[in-house]
Structure formats: C-alpha cells, structure tokens
C-alpha cells in the first residue's frame, strides 16, 4: 500500500479516536451527573456503568447514524474518479470538527459534536464538489431534528413528570401511592427501553429477532422487573416518617433506583448516536483505503464501531470522572423524581433519532427535558437564557466548522 495512504489512514484513526475520547470525556455528565449529584451512585460506579452502556449503545446501534455521516451528507459517488480527494475531504472534516470541539470545550460553549461534524462535512462537500454535492434534503431533515428533538424531550419530560405528580404527590398518602405506582413505572420503563432497543437493532449487523419474539421477550422481562420492584419497594424501610419532608425524602429515595436505570438508558442512547461523529468519517476513509476505490454499497466494519465505543469509554474513564464530579455538585436541584423524568425522555428521544439515522445532541435534548419539567413546576427557577445560548452556538458551529473543514481540505490538497 502507498505510504501516504498509511499515513492518512493512521492519522484519521488517531483523530477519530481523539474525537471519541472527547465525546466520552465531556458528555458522560449528561447521563450520570444527576445520579452522582443525588448520591445514588459513586463516581466510580457511574464511570463503570456509563462505560458499559455507552459501549453497548455504540456497538449495537451506532451504525445508523454512522451511515448518515459516512454517505448521507456528501455523496461519495461524485468522487469515484479521484477517491483520494474524498479521503482528504473526510480527514479535513474530522480534523475541523476535532479542532472546533476542543476550542468550544475549553471555553465551555454549549456546542454539539454532531453539529460540528455535520457542518464540517458541508464545508468539505461544497468546496470539493460544489453546492450540489451536499444532500440539502438530508441537511434540512437533520436541522429539523436539532430543533424538534429538544422540544420532543421537553414535551415528553413534562408529561412523565405530570404523571408522577398526579399519581404520587397529589394523593392523600404519597408514600403509599409510591409503593403502588412503582411496579407500573418499572414495567413501563423496562418495556419501553427493551422495545426501543429491539426496534433499533433492525438493519444492523447483529441478528435481529422478529417482532412477536421481541414483544414476548420485552413483556416477560418487564413483568419480572415489575414484580421484583414490587417486592423491593414493599421491603424498603423508609425509617421515621413524622414530617412531610420525611415522606418526600423516602419517595425520592425509592426513585433513585429507577433513576439509575434511566441513566444507563441515556448512556446507551448517547453511545448509539454520538459514536458516529467520530467514526463516520473514519469509516468513509477506511473503505476507500481498503478497496482503493469508492464502492457503491458501503458497510461499516464492526471493528470501527468498537474502536469508537472504546474511545468514548477511555474518555470517560480518564477525564469524565472530573466532569461528572463537578456537574454532580451543580445539578443537585434535580432530585431523583425529576432526574428520572428528564433522563427517560432524553434517552427515548435520542434513541429514536439514532434509529432514524439523525445525529442529534444529547445535551440539548436533556436541556429541553429539564425545561419541560420546569414548566410542570417541577424545578424552580429555570433559566431560559440557555435556549438563546444554545441557538447561538449551533448557528455559529455549522459555518465555523464548515469554513475550517474547507480551509483544511484546500491545504491538504495543496500539500499532497
């Protein structure tokens, strides 16, 4: 093989790993921050379960969004005459995204890695093959998902929290109501998680099971979980229950366990969506390098998804603990009942987007969910300024990443 190709392949792998590392290091706070903040789990436990679920999400379901990044935005077929242009372009896009992610992370700007990679791909596509090289239809669809996903998160979290309020807090004996409601919550939670995972497994490299089997497995596991939760909540000794505050503390304590399950679900969904930001461009480069040409049907080798998942896990193990610790202290206002509602809706929205192949921002969906709970009067003093900041950031991110990718691409082409 051509030594420049080895050099390019190697550097792409390195940058992709860096991006995955950065995603893992930073975004893990989204899934685990509240659980650590409410002292449901220790930081060490959080790292461990986040690692397992991020990796599982990335490997099992990461392929849908990876395909979008790989060939949904810039059409590879346009470069079949000169595949090396395509390789440089993908490398440039990845590098541009990595640079922007690093800068904005340093300055704590609430940008999204998904948005930077999409912006970078647009930049490379336009410079390399003209405006028509970019699938604008897909871009519009992705752009809509960036607006709709936080709104969907807000609406879903709003309703989940209202249900908790109605069936638990707004009853004459809230703790007794909690005992009765927990098995139903567990059933709903486990069945939604399992079913959405089964649905997302379709069209991946993993063996899928038919609809009725999936439904049966989901039902059986959910019922077992519900029964288990019934036993556990009835054995739970809340201690002294003299004041209303004691009662509410016990309710929150019971919800800690459900919240840990939703935290795992968020980690899974995050892995399934964000691994693509790192390995999407890499998959494109590797394909060309291996075959020497642009193939019409491009698959994503499993080892790439594993590499991306590993990068995320290394990120959260090496740097993520610091982020979790700091965030955990800042978001103590989100008690387990609130954390449960926010995380459940975030995970569900992100996983559905993953299945649809849409790269969205988990952080922004989570922000939407928290605001949704605020509107249900569940969190006092929600600062709506964050909406403006996020909007500004994503309006800046796309052109900045695009311009950076274009410049890097032109330089690369000139050098090589």
């Amino acid at each position: 093989m051509d030594p420049t190709f080895i050099l390019i392949g190697g550097s792409t792998v390195a940058i992709a790993f860096y991006v995955a590392w950065s995603i893992g290091a930073n975004d893990v706070a989204n899934s685990m921050g509240t659980s650590v903040g409410s002292k449901a789990i220790s930081i060490r436990q959080a790292i461990l379960i986040a690692g397992i679920f991020e990796f599982a999400g990335a490997v099992l379901i990461g392929i849908h969004v990876t395909k979008t990044i790989q060939n949904g935005i810039v059409d590879p077929a346009l470069f079949s005459a000169d595949p090396s242009i395509y390789v440089y372009g993908m490398l440039a896009a990845l590098l541009a995204a990595a640079v922007w992610i690093s800068i904005s992370t340093y300055f704590s700007l609430p940008i999204s890695t998904s948005q930077s990679i999409v912006g970078a791909l647009i930049g490379f596509g336009v410079v390399a093959a003209g405006v028509s090289a970019v699938s604008w239809e897909k871009i519009v669809q992705i752009g809509e998902s960036w607006i709709l996903s936080p709104i969907a998160g807000a609406a879903l979290a709003f309703f989940i929290f209202l249900i908790i309020k109605k069936v638990i807090f707004d009853t004459s004996k809230p703790f007794e109501s909690t005992k009765k409601a927990i098995p139903f919550f567990t059933f709903a939670l486990v069945s939604v998680i399992l079913f959405s995972i089964f649905k997302s497994l379709e069209c991946t490299d993993f063996p899928t099971i038919c609809f009725s089997t999936a439904l049966e497995i989901t039902l059986v596991i959910s019922i077992i979980s519900a029964v288990l939760s019934y036993v556990l909540v009835n054995r739970y000794n809340p201690g002294k229950m003299e004041t209303d505050q004691d009662v509410y503390r016990s309710i929150e304590h019971v919800f800690i366990y459900l919240q840990i399950i939703t935290a795992c679900f968020v980690a899974f969904a995050h892995g399934s969506n964000d691994v693509a930001n790192a390995i999407g461009p890499l998959a494109a480069v590797i394909n060309v390098l291996q075959s020497g040409a642009i193939e019409s049907v491009i698959g994503v080798p499993l080892w790439l998804v594993v590499l991306g998942g590993a990068g995320i896990v290394v990120g959260l193990a090496t740097w993520g603990y610091k982020v979790i610790g700091t965030i955990g202290k800042k978001i103590t206002e989100i008690t387990p009942t609130r954390g449960f509602s926010a995380e459940f809706s975030t995970a569900l929205v992100v996983l559905v987007c993953s299945r649809l192949g849409l790269p969205v921002s988990t952080s922004q969906v989570l922000v939407g969910s928290v605001i949704g709970i605020g509107f249900a009067k569940g969190i006092v003093a929600v600062d709506l300024k964050i909406i403006k900041r996020i909007m500004t950031c994503w309006i800046i991110t796309v052109p900045v990443s695009a311009a950076t990718a274009a410049i890097i691409f032109i330089c690369l082409k000139a050098i090589v």
Binding site: A29, V323, A381, L384, K385, I386
Partner: protein, 235 residues
C-alpha cells in the same frame, strides 16, 4: 453564565446552566432563618426591657443590627439574580413582595431596638402585663408566619399540589388570627396609656405610644408576608 463565582470549567454541560443553582425559595427560607433569629432575641429582650432591665439591651440592639445586615445581603443577592429569562413556578413579582415584606420585619425590628436603646422609657407597673402580652402575641404572629413560609419546602418538592397549598393556607389563617389578637392587645395597651396620661411625663406618653405602635408594625408586616404568600400560591 450562571453565577460567576467558581473557576472556569473546561467542558460543555449546558444542563448545569439550565436552572439557578441556588433556588430562590431556599434563599427566601435562609432569609426567614434570619428573621427567626432576630425575633427570638427580640422577644426575650422586649420582656426584659418592659420589666425595667436595660443592662443587656445595648448588646441586643447591636446583635439585631448585625442580623438585619446579614439578611440584607441575602435579600440583595436574591434580588440581583432574578433576570427576566428566569422561569419560576410562581409569579416573580409576588415572590419579591413576600421577600420585601419579610425584610421589612427586620427593618422595623432594627428601628425599634435603636429607639428603645436611645431612651430607656420606663413602663408603668400597671401597664407591664399588657405590654408583655402584646409583645408575645406579635412574636407569635411572626412564628406562625414562619410556619407558613417553611411549608414552601413541601410545595416545591411536590410541585405545588393542592394538598400542600391547602396546608399553607391553614398556616396563613393562623397568622391572621395572631395578628388580630396582637391588634387587640395593642388597643388595650394604648387605652392603658391614656388612662394613666395624667400621672405620666408627656415625653413618656409619647414614647409609650410609639413603642406600642412600632412593636405592632412587626405583626402587620408578618401578616403582609402571609398575604403575599397566599397570592403567590393561588391558582
């Protein structure tokens, strides 16, 4: 970007900036704690003063001033951090009025102890019981108000369910009840002052009337806090 107190963190976590880290309600409760602290020493101090014990009063006056200042800091911190972009489950204006009235209790307490410390006005033996009774009822009004304010914790935790709002209202009724009793006691005290006006030095009469008035102001403001609280939680 939230409160700019801590050092800069180098990561992106917009969820941490989505809400105020220190809930305005817990700050209101913190302020309430200062009111309580002040009322506790003022209640005992007044009884001693009425009985003619002025020995420790200068120390007490200084202490009340300190508490008032500490509470002022909490109040201004809270007031300066309620931007328009902040979404709260209650009306922000009503919330601020409750805080303002709560703070007025401390302002009045401070003015009262300063005035009492400036001129040690002797309470006639015959009026001591009426005055002490009045002071105790005023303190009870504030204590009842404290119960109402502290129920905010439960309101916040349950996201303002009906049961807890009803409970707060029950506490508010108590405030009105004590305030009404305090008013009656003040009426008795004033009546007593006029009854003995011939025997008393005119300057003493002036000050006795002023003391009765100023002590009663505290109960009035406690009642105002309760009223704003009620308006705040009304649906």
């Amino acid at each position: 970007m939230g409160e700019k107190l801590e050092e800069k963190d180098h990561f992106r976590a917009p969820v941490a900036d989505t809400f105020r880290r220190k809930s305005p309600f817990s700050q209101l409760l913190e302020h309430m704690g200062k009111v309580r602290e002040c009322i506790d020493i003022l209640g005992d101090g007044l009884v001693g003063y009425y009985k003619g014990d002025y020995k420790d009063f200068p120390v007490l006056a200084k202490k009340v001033s300190e508490i008032e200042h500490e509470a002022d800091l909490i109040k201004s911190n809270l007031r300066n951090h309620l931007p328009n972009s902040l979404f709260m489950p209650v009306d922000k204006g009503k919330f601020m009025w409750a805080l303002r009235e709560q703070d007025a209790i401390l302002d009045h307490a401070e003015n009262l102890v300063r005035m009492l410390d400036m001129r040690h006005t002797k309470i006639p033996k015959e009026l001591q019981d009426v005055f002490i009774n009045h002071a105790k009822l005023v303190m009870k009004t504030v204590e009842a108000m404290e119960d109402a304010v502290c129920n905010i914790r439960d309101l916040v935790e349950t996201s303002f369910v009906k049961r807890e709002r009803e409970q707060t209202k029950q506490f508010i009724y108590k405030v009105h009840e004590f305030e009404w009793k305090a008013d009656k006691a003040k009426y008795e005290a004033t009546k007593g002052i006029y009854k003995f006006e011939k025997k008393l030095d005119p300057m003493d009469v002036y000050h006795l009337l002023k003391i009765a008035d100023w002590v009663d102001d505290i109960a009035d403001h406690a009642e105002n806090v309760a009223d704003w609280l009620r308006a705040m939680i009304a649906k």
